[in-house]
């Protein structure tokens, strides 16, 4: 199982990793910063997740329109053309039920609240930590169990 491979090659394993079953979970990272895309891509792959990246909101929407689907979407807020809140609203309007998690460096609670109201399931501060990812995997497993 992929988690086994990660456990030997990474120092990130903790006892709680034993409980996390990935079931080939797929993630879309939407961020206009190449640095953040690379960081999140690597971090998520350490947990055995299949990662795709989109460099802006329009690309993310086009991916879904072309029939792609993902278990989890990590959404940056501040992006050109379409910001994270607009993309989230659009995806929800299209009927996307994937878990959408905002990842932002926004400081104000008011701004975060507005982002959440666009249709996010959770919102974290950039960059995502190991604890955040473990939490999200647990939430995804719960969601999968409820749907099956």
């Amino acid at each position: 199982m992929m988690l086994g491979n990660c456990a030997t090659s990474s120092s990130l394993s903790t006892e709680s990793d034993e409980d996390i079953v990935n079931n080939n979970l797929t993630v879309l990272v939407v961020d206009d910063s190449p640095m953040i895309r690379k960081l999140h891509d690597m971090h998520l792959k350490k947990f055995g997740l299949k990662v795709q990246v989109a460099e802006n909101g329009k690309n993310a929407v086009d991916l879904f329109r072309s029939g792609a689907s993902f278990n989890l979407i990590l959404m940056d807020k501040e992006m050109p053309i379409m910001d994270g809140a607009e993309v989230t609203k659009e995806l929800r309007t299209m009927g996307v039920t994937s878990m959408i998690v905002g990842v932002t460096s926004l400081d104000s609670i008011f701004d975060r609240q507005a982002f959440m109201e666009a249709g996010l399931d959770h919102c974290f501060t950039k960059p995502l930590t190991t604890e955040n990812i473990i939490f999200l995997l647990q939430e995804l497993n719960k969601k999968n169990n409820e749907e099956n």
Binding site: S9, S10, S11, L12, S33, P34, M35, I36, K38, L39, M42, H43, K46, E78, S105, K126, P127, T129, T130
Partner: protein
């Protein structure tokens, strides 16, 4: 200098960067993501940080030279720089960005200009320090050793 001395020098140098507040825990997290399948991960991410920061610092310089200053635009750039600095653990640059944003909010041109100089200065220091650190790592690897964690 022999291998053991090089390795000791690297550990001391790295420790000093944390002690002096140039790097924080986030940089450690970055190092922990690197593995034998991606041995250049940290260098690659930091290189992207350098490219991004230099672009943002140029934009900030241009924006502050304008007749009519667009504080919203300046704030957006500083916000981005703060975010990316925080992501790699460049603590001093990140902290200065917070001060910078306060001046933007107050629409204080003098304050912004002063802050920009300080950010440029701190950025160039952390860039030099990281490059020196990477050079030490390369010397160790070329000497057939492994980089101490």
């Amino acid at each position: 200098m022999d291998l053991v001395q090089l390795q000791r020098q690297l550990v001391d140098y790295r420790t000093s960067l944390y002690h002096e507040g140039f790097l924080d825990e986030q940089f450690t997290q970055l190092q922990e993501l690197q593995d034998e399948n991606n041995p250049d991960f940290v260098v690659e991410v930091v290189s992207l940080y350098f490219e991004d920061s230099e672009r943002l610092l140029n934009e900030l310089s241009k924006a502050l030279e304008q007749q009519i200053i667009d504080f919203k635009r300046i704030d957006a750039h500083v916000h981005q720089l703060k975010g990316s600095s925080s992501s790699i653990g460049a603590q001093r640059v990140q902290k200065l960005c917070i001060v910078f944003r306060n001046y933007c909010e107050a629409q204080n041109v003098e304050g912004c200009l002063k802050c920009l100089q300080q950010v440029k200065h701190e950025y160039s220091i952390v860039k030099t320090k990281l490059e020196s650190m990477f050079q030490l790592e390369r010397q160790i690897l070329n000497a057939g050793g492994s980089v101490p964690v």
